[in-house]
């Protein structure tokens, strides 16, 4: 399916959910969400914390600089490291939280709201959210009807990356359905002596992404939401079925580089290097941001690093989106203004132009993104319409969905190690979900 081969030019290509929202929900003349204004914040010092480092950090700081210029406030950025919870925990305990934090999971929004650690969006910030975001995204940042967070940066999690020369050697095409993927693509690659998949099992979140895509496609968005809310138990048949589907890959030692043991010991992005640097495998499943690691391993995205949409297990191909949510943690002057600014199409358009960014803001137009790759990504989201879902593991409490060595991460790692008993795994998941 050549039209599904997203080719991107030289630079690290990243995606645009924004395009979808731009097309479906764009209200004419949606202006600045109240960008804060008229230089009336001079002398105000704000602290913003997010996990971004390197280029991502520089780009974000450039966006912050625009706010500084506009308002006269000064904003200091601080990196939280990989584990945002571990960073904020002691800060909160010491009663010294940053003014604005970018949380990697809505689950954390819920947790911190429960601890009274968050300040609800007010005034301009609340208006900006109302104006620029659709209901689904608004609810993501809300707890008990109170809006706290803004989905600031998104990631497209329903694509599988591959090495075209491996596909050529085996003479296979991009699959459209799961059955094609396992029965045809993977099997033929394996016949050709090429290991089909490189797994990133040591990074637990990649495994939850596998599950979410299979589950969303097979059980559908409604059940997906019910599972998020824990309205159906994890022992539900649909969960067991999805685990069985996963086992079609995870249970076949020959389909994964290094077998099951290797799969569970390889971290992200080593798994990407295994495909693009070492040529150990043909495919690796993860989000749009794989592009950066693939380039680092020496591949050119769009030429020798291509991707296809996650194949349909059930009726439709799944579209799972992840992303980071900005919340206010203090009542200091300038916090709401900064949040309003971050929620504005202007700020996010600037960011989109810098690259490595995907917006969920309805006011960010598609041409904010320069490359074709992002636009095609956005198209799949458009096609999925109301069926787009946010990363499940990031919506449940982080103890269950996003903690190293706990909950979904470690249970799915156990399942990858030995996928013999999907029912027992479902029971483990249910037990862990009930506990948190």
């Amino acid at each position: 399916m050549p039209e599904h081969t997203w080719r991107a030019r030289g630079t690290v290509a990243v995606a645009a959910v924004g395009a979808l929202l731009a097309a479906t929900a764009c209200s004419p003349g949606s202006g600045p969400g109240g960008g804060g204004g008229d230089g009336d914040l001079s002398g105000v010092e704000l602290k913003v914390a997010a996990k971004w480092t390197g280029v991502e950090q520089e780009n974000f700081e450039e966006v912050l600089a625009a706010f500084e210029q506009e308002t006269g406030a000064s904003v200091a950025y601080e990196s939280t490291g990989e584990d945002t919870g571990a960073y904020l925990g002691p800060k909160l305990e010491a009663n010294e939280p940053p003014d604005v934090a970018i949380l990697p999971q809505p689950g954390l929004v819920q947790e911190y709201a429960d601890q009274d650690a968050l300040v609800p969006l007010e005034g301009d910030a609340a208006a900006a959210l109302e104006e620029n975001y659709t209901d689904y995204w608004k609810e993501l940042g809300s707890v008990d009807g109170e809006a706290y967070g803004i989905l600031l940066k998104a990631a497209h999690k329903s694509i599988i990356w591959y090495r075209p020369d491996a596909f050529d050697e085996a003479g296979v095409e991009e699959p459209e359905t799961w059955d094609d993927l396992t029965g045809e693509t993977a099997a033929t690659l394996s016949d050709a002596g090429i290991t089909p998949f490189s797994m990133c099992g040591a990074s637990g979140w990649t495994l939850t992404d596998w599950f979410e895509n299979v589950y969303l496609s097979e059980a559908g968005p409604e059940k997906y939401d019910q599972l998020v809310a824990h309205e159906i138990p994890w022992t539900d048949d649909s969960v067991v079925q999805s685990l069985e589907v996963l086992a079609e890959v995870w249970g076949e030692e020959d389909l994964m580089a290094g077998g099951n043991d290797g799969a569970v010991q390889t971290d992200f992005p080593t798994c990407v290097t295994d495909v693009y640097g070492q040529d150990d495998a043909a495919m690796v499943f993860e989000a749009d941001f794989v592009a950066a690691s693939a380039e680092e391993a020496g591949a050119t995205v769009g030429e020798d690093a291509l991707a296809f949409p996650f194949p349909a297990v059930g009726e439709a191909q799944p579209v799972v989106v992840g992303g980071d949510i900005a919340v206010g943690m203090t009542e200091n002057e300038g916090v709401q203004e900064l949040l309003a600014f971050l929620a504005s199409p202007e700020a996010q358009t600037t960011w989109a132009g810098l690259g490595g960014y995907l917006s969920a803001n309805s006011g960010v137009s598609a041409d904010a993104y320069a490359d074709e790759f992002t636009q095609q990504l956005a198209q799949t989201i458009l096609d999925a319409g109301d069926d787009v879902r946010y990363d499940l593991s990031d919506q449940v409490p982080s103890q269950f969905g996003a903690t190293e060595g706990k909950g979904m991460w470690s249970i799915l790692q156990d399942f990858l190690r030995d996928p013999a008993d999907p029912e027992a795994t479902a029971e483990d998941l249910e037990a862990a979900a009930s506990e948190s």
Binding site: E78, E82, D83, A94, P269
Partner: protein, 306 residues
């Protein structure tokens, strides 16, 4: 009856020595005669190699490019010495964050070592040579505190620091190390000071010396070796700490250990930074160890049952 032997056992300076004076008939000598000295030597050489190999592996890995490291084991340099490169170190030293963390480590380690030595020396002097009510009980308390796990203090101190506004700062980390290093430091120095001949002190007091003068002129010079042991032990202890930094140092103030730990999540992908960084973090402790090996061994031995 036993003072002589005690001293022999006690003098840690003797510990790393080959024990030349020991009579012929020890157990080891019989083993030697049975197995033959050659076999024993061979076994010991094997153990020594076994002990050196892991460190050597880290060092060589740090001298290879990430590509080489993911393609083959470090021992591949035996056949291809051209793989060796200083690039990892060059890029690490170019990395502001890492260089800053090195200086943070120094900024944390040096002041806490100095503070511990000074405060502990004062207290140890009081415990050893000053008379005051409840002295023995108080000192027993210090002995008891030796084994308190520092986990107990993490939560309470985090809260206090939050209130004081020093949470995340280098000052907070330094003070925490001082607090937790003191029982051992007092214990070690007090035992040493107590062993200084009483006559020396009595004489100094007769001469009308004031306590601070005696402390400075008599005790500190005599206590040199013990203070050196303590200082080196504490220096390495703080330099190598991870847990305290993990909780109390924020991103700008983090020492090397915490900076490296944050790379561990992606061990496979970051092996270039991790191996060279870990080795650099070892350089100072190793230099200190080889330069002051005798004092360090004393300090560690005195730390038995901490």
């Amino acid at each position: 009856m036993s003072t002589r032997e005690d001293t022999a056992a006690v003098d840690p300076a003797a510990a790393p020595d080959p024990g030349q004076g020991a009579p012929q008939s020890s157990l080891a000598s019989r083993i030697v005669s049975r197995l033959g000295s050659g076999l024993l030597q061979a076994v010991l050489v094997l153990i020594a190699v076994f002990w050196l190999m892991p460190t050597l592996g880290l060092f060589i890995s740090s001298l290879r490019s990430p590509q080489d490291n993911s393609a083959s084991g470090w021992w591949a340099v035996l056949t291809e010495p051209s793989q060796l490169t200083l690039e990892n170190y060059a890029s690490l030293l170019d990395n502001e964050g890492f260089v800053a963390s090195f200086f943070n480590t120094v900024l944390i380690t040096v002041p806490s070592t100095v503070l511990i030595v000074v405060i502990a020396a004062l207290a140890a002097y009081a415990f050893a040579w000053l008379e005051f009510p409840g002295r023995d009980w108080l000192f027993l308390g210090v002995v008891g505190l030796l084994v308190v796990p520092l986990q107990v203090a993490l939560v309470p101190i985090a809260q206090i620091y939050g209130g004081l506004g020093i949470y995340g700062s280098i000052l907070g980390v330094v003070l925490f190390h001082v607090g937790y290093g003191l029982p051992f430091a007092i214990f070690l120095l007090r035992n040493f000071f107590a062993a200084i001949p009483r006559d020396l002190l009595e004489a100094a007091r007769m001469d009308g010396g004031r306590e601070f003068t005696i402390f400075r002129r008599v005790i500190l010079p005599l206590g040199g070796p013990a203070i050196a042991s303590l200082a080196i032990f504490q220096f390495l202890w703080v330099w190598n700490d991870l847990l305290v930094a993990l909780v109390f140092a924020d991103a700008q103030n983090q020492p090397m250990t915490k900076a490296l730990q944050s790379e561990m999540r992606q061990f496979g992908a970051n092996i270039d930074v991790i191996s060279s960084g870990a080795f650099l973090s070892m350089v100072v402790p190793l230099l200190v160890f080889f330069a002051f090996q005798r004092y360090f061994v004393q300090g560690v031995m005195a730390g038995a049952v901490k």
